[in-house]
Every structure is written in structure tokens, then in C-alpha cells.
Symmetry: C2
Amino acid sequence: MARELVILGSTGSIGRQALDLVQQFPERFRVRGLAAGKNWRLLLEQTVCFRPEAVALQEEEDAARLRAALPPGLEPAVFWGEEGLERIATLPGADTVLTAVVGAAGLRPTLAAIEAGKNIALANKETLVAAGEIVTRRVRERGVRLLPVDSEHSAVWQCLDGRWDVARVILTASGGPFREYSREALAEVTPEMALRHPTWRMGPKITIDSATLMNKGLEVIEAHWLFGVDYDNIRVLVHPQSVVHGMVEFADGSILAGLSITDMRLPILYALSYPERLANTLPRLDLSAVGKLTFEEPDRERFPALALAVGAGRAGGTMPAVLNAANETAVEAFLSGRIPFTWIPKVVEKVMAAHKIKEGPDLADIIAADSWARAKAAEVIGECGEC
Amino acid sequence: MARELVILGSTGSIGRQALDLVQQFPERFRVRGLAAGKNWRLLLEQTVCFRPEAVALQEEEDAARLRAALPPGLEPAVFWGEEGLERIATLPGADTVLTAVVGAAGLRPTLAAIEAGKNIALANKETLVAAGEIVTRRVRERGVRLLPVDSEHSAVWQCLDGRWDVARVILTASGGPFREYSREALAEVTPEMALRHPTWRMGPKITIDSATLMNKGLEVIEAHWLFGVDYDNIRVLVHPQSVVHGMVEFADGSILAGLSITDMRLPILYALSYPERLANTLPRLDLSAVGKLTFEEPDRERFPALALAVGAGRAGGTMPAVLNAANETAVEAFLSGRIPFTWIPKVVEKVMAAHKIKEGPDLADIIAADSWARAKAAEVIGECGEC
């Protein structure tokens, strides 16, 4: 039986790779809805190719452009804006929603999809970072599946496979392109340098997050919510070869590790086909060709973002949402050349220091904290002339 | 509820480590029966400590010695010989039999325990090598569990955990102490050198088998029977650090790997406590302290025993029993200084070449092939003066 898919963020890196898989397994997946940001031309191509019944774009004008360009005989419903995204997320015929939009923008449509009883293939970690408690509670209450797409969490999830006698979760980090950079060299890093990730092909936001190690910090928070593991029992190891993605240490001290080639299509496919595994034509991992795997502690001083994120996770309440919003704002400022690389964690730290945590936040509290943090981060960035 | 244990081979390396675990978890395990070879003094100590209801030794005189030395108030049944071993293997009150005798001698008592409805914690790989088809069939028919104790198979079993969409099983080998020896240097290896294993503390037979890589070959045959995987889909990788013990590659190309410190008590404990995992005081694996894991192809020319074993497995019928018996005879000859190290695989090869395979053998056929191979190996060894 084919899985009926919705992809939120279909023109991004994860969305495109997911559609590549749909093409490889036409009998397994059917695309019911696609949502994108501004790239209406690519969404048009995808619409022609996959014939979804509904699509959405961020702006009304782009929606009109796409509608006007549709070839004869193709008449999907075309939505736009936040409401349009939610229409796609809750499309009646779909059973699984791949949430691959970037940043906290994924929160509302993910919650809407959960309310509508969809299984969630979660590629948008910011949703769990900002609102982990609310999201996991609603997932339990609605009885839907929350299927991790991040390679690290996919590996951990495969190691667990329903077993819960877990002592510790270990997430690996490639260490990013600047693993061996000095503090001084880090200050000179340009966006172009930071966008060249050594092992993974990913979108720009996550690539910058990988370079600061913020990504690993966000993943620690994500792992906390996905697997119900205390922060004390989540460990990060730098593993530059990116062959081992995640590990689980069980009560007796035995460890299971998840390994694969560095291709996001593998964790995407597993999330979409779960509990089945589909044979595919991707290259296989050959450990004798890799030869050597190394592991080391992350350098928490040169890469302070990791500790900031774990600290926000431990603090709880609205703090992880603030961390995430400040980071998104700082990454944008770095990518547009307004702050240096080393200022990304500084902005986040200053915003966090100014935040008064609200405990047990509801969705409105989280959205308010997110807005506050973005404004505060912009303010801090504005003062960067003097930094 | 405590598990009611019988240990066959209680004075050997595996047996002693198992009793060490029983001592650590007195509420989990009770010792009902112990069987040993010639070491009646240690069996006496174990009897005093663990108070089994029955014990057995190989020789009648040793049984009499032990009986005479029992302290007042301690009156276990004392058996001897092959019949005595089977009495212990089928002890009515026991539910789990740890088979840790060395070599093909484990075959009869293991089968007797299966017939008696016991779960088998299998530390005696030669049983599956010599009679894999018969043993696994009887296990299925009797509905008992066959729990692997070999660290490699324990790791694979933990990765599988009931999942069967397996593409490939990967067993790692430390490569033994002579991994980097030239052909010439291998010819000069003494028993003393071969008994020093770089990573594992084990009995002498398996330590020599590790040095020749015959052990890995026997493990390939064992994996074939335990996991129902074709020989084409069992791969051996040399991994000198002995941190990753076994791996499973699934249909989609994802790999799960089992890692732990090199301490046989972990796989013994998992087999005995399955499906539970028991928290324990053994040291934990710290990958950042290990730092580096390497993987390479085994050198099948310098270590021909591996290919001999896989060839015997593929040939099937009585051939694996012949391989095993010839190897046991050759290892004894090496340990007593009668043949050089490099002659162990040569003896096995010559015996295999002289064997006419009997297909679909019954137990009598296997025992006959074993006896024939021991005699033939002795003959080949006798001619070694000219080698």
C-alpha cells in the first residue's frame, strides 16, 4: 500500500531528496501535497512531475505566478501564506507529513498536522527545540508517529527499535569544517567558507549550524524529547568521518551504533518507509575502504554554541525557543555579512542572558518568546559595530 | 525469578567468568549443576561456593577424589564420564545450560540439553560447526532458545533483535597476535607466543584458533547457522582494536554495529539474562579514550585457515565436522610442540582433501566423520618429519 505523502519544504535540500526517493519507489509513495517558500518555478516543476492535489507558496504573488504557469489539465489547489501551509499540512488524503521547512516556521504546521492525525517525519528539529514538551505531548495524545529524519536521531532510533533500557544516547558530530581552526582563525571565517561542509550535503542554515556546533546542541535537545533521555545521559562525540551517526549505550554497558554512508536519502527513506526497509541503489558503506574511524571530545571553548544549547535545554520553559530564535537571527546576519562567524554564539548568549524564562509555556508563550528573541537579537546585532 | 543454571565446562575460562557473574547477581541466577574436565580441585571449590545439586568430572577417579574431599553437609550427586556430562546437561530443575566445554566434545551434551527442553547459552561454537543443521533443527522443533555467547555473535544478535531484513552479517576479527607477521616469521611462532592474545583473555584452544584465523572461519559457519545467512552474505573484517564485535547490514544499506569493552562477561551476561540487560560494575567503553577504530580486509594468503573454514561451510554435509576435528588435532599437536604453527592449516587442508563428504548427515555420520578426521590428522602429523 502506497504511503500518502505531504512534503512541507519541497524545494529545499531535504524536500528534493525526498522527491528523488518518491521517484525511485513510485509504487510505495504518492505525493498528495507540496509546500515551498519562494521557489515557485521549482514547485511548478515538482507539480508537473508528481501531480499533487494541492500546493502552497509563501507569497500570494508567487502562488498566482505558479497558477498561471500550470500546463493544461493540471489543476491542483494552490494556497499561500501561513494558512496555505497549514492547509497542506492537514490535507485529508495524506497519512504522513514530512516537515522539512527551515527554522521555527515549522512549528505551527507540524502541530496542525499532528492534530489532523498525521504521522510526522520530522526534518525540522527547531520544532522540537522550541516546543518539545507540547509537540511530544500532542503526539502521544493523538497516537501518531514522530519519525526522526536527522541522520543522528535516525541512527539512535534504529539502535533503540522499541527498546528502552537505555543508559545513554551518544550523538556524533563531524566537527564541521573548522574543527581544527584556532580562535583567531574562526573570527575570519566567511559565509562561503562556512557553507562548504566536509561530509554532508545540506541546506545553508543547517550547514552554518554545523560549523558553529549549534546544530549538535539543537540535536541534543531534539534527542531529549524524542527519546525521553535526561541531558546528563546525552553525550556528543566529534567523529570527523561521519560514518557512525548515533549510538545507544544500554544498561549493561553494551553499545549499538548506527552507521551508513553520508546521504540524507537513507534516513529520509527509513522515516518514510518505516517499519519496512527498502532495498535501493545508493552506494553501500565499505568499512575497509573507509579504513579508520576516530572519536574525540568536542572543544566546548572554541565552539560555545554546543554548551549554550544544552544549557537552554536544561533551563527549559521558553529558553530553548529563545536560543533557537536568536540563533536563526544570528545565522541570517552572518550569511548576509553583518556579523562575524564568532559572533553567532555571542548574540545567542546575550539574548539568552536577557531572557526571563516562562515555565510550562503554551504555544502562545513560545511564539511570544520567539518574537521577543528575534527582536532582541536584532538589537544585539545592531550594536555589533562596536564589537 | 532466578534463572536455574547448568554450566558445562565450569572450570574453563568461560565457566569461571559465568560463575563470577552468578556471584554478582545472586538473586538472578542459581547454579543447579556444574561439569568440568580434570580440574576436580577447582570444581570442589565451586561446589562449596555455589552448592549445585549435581556435578560431573571426566574421570571416575577424579569424581571419587572430589566426593571424598566434600565438606560435611554438602552432598551433591557426583557423576563422571560422558554419561555424567549428559546427566548434568539434562538436570530436571535447570532451565538454561551454558555449554562451555571445548571442541566437538560439546556436541552430545548440547543435543541432550536441547532434547530435555533447556535453553542453550552456546559458548561451544564447535557444536554448530560440526552439526549446525541438526542442532538448529532440534532447537526449532523443541522450541528452546539458542543464545550466542561468542562476542561477535552476541553483537550481531543484539543488532538483529528479532529483525530479519538482513542483507549481510559482518564479523570482526582482531587479526590475532601475528596480523603483521610475514610468512617466514609465522613459521617460527611458538605456542607461548601464540597464547598471548592482544585483546581477549580466553582459553588456549580458542586463542590458537584466533592466531590462525581459524576461529573466525568457525564463527562464519556458526553465524550461518545462528542467523540463517548465506555464506556469500557473511563478511569478515580485521579490526585490531576489538571494539566493534559484529555488524548487520540491512536491506536499505544501513548498518547497526555492536560495540563494547573486550570482556567476555558482557556477552555471557546478556545470554544468561536475556531478554533483560543487567546493570553491572564492568568498566564502560569510552570511544574518545579509544580514539581510533580501524578496519581492513583479512589476508587470506598468510592466514589460509579462514578460507578453509568457509570452504568447508559451503561444502556442507560432514565437511565442517572434518574441518573442526582436524583443526582440534592440529592445535593439540602445535601446543605440544609436534608441528610448527604454519602446519595447522596444512594439516586441516590435507585431511579435508582426503574426505568424502556425506550429505545430510545424521549424528552418527558426524561422529564417524569426526573420528575419521582425527585419525587422518594424526597420520598427517606423523608425516610432518618430512614437511
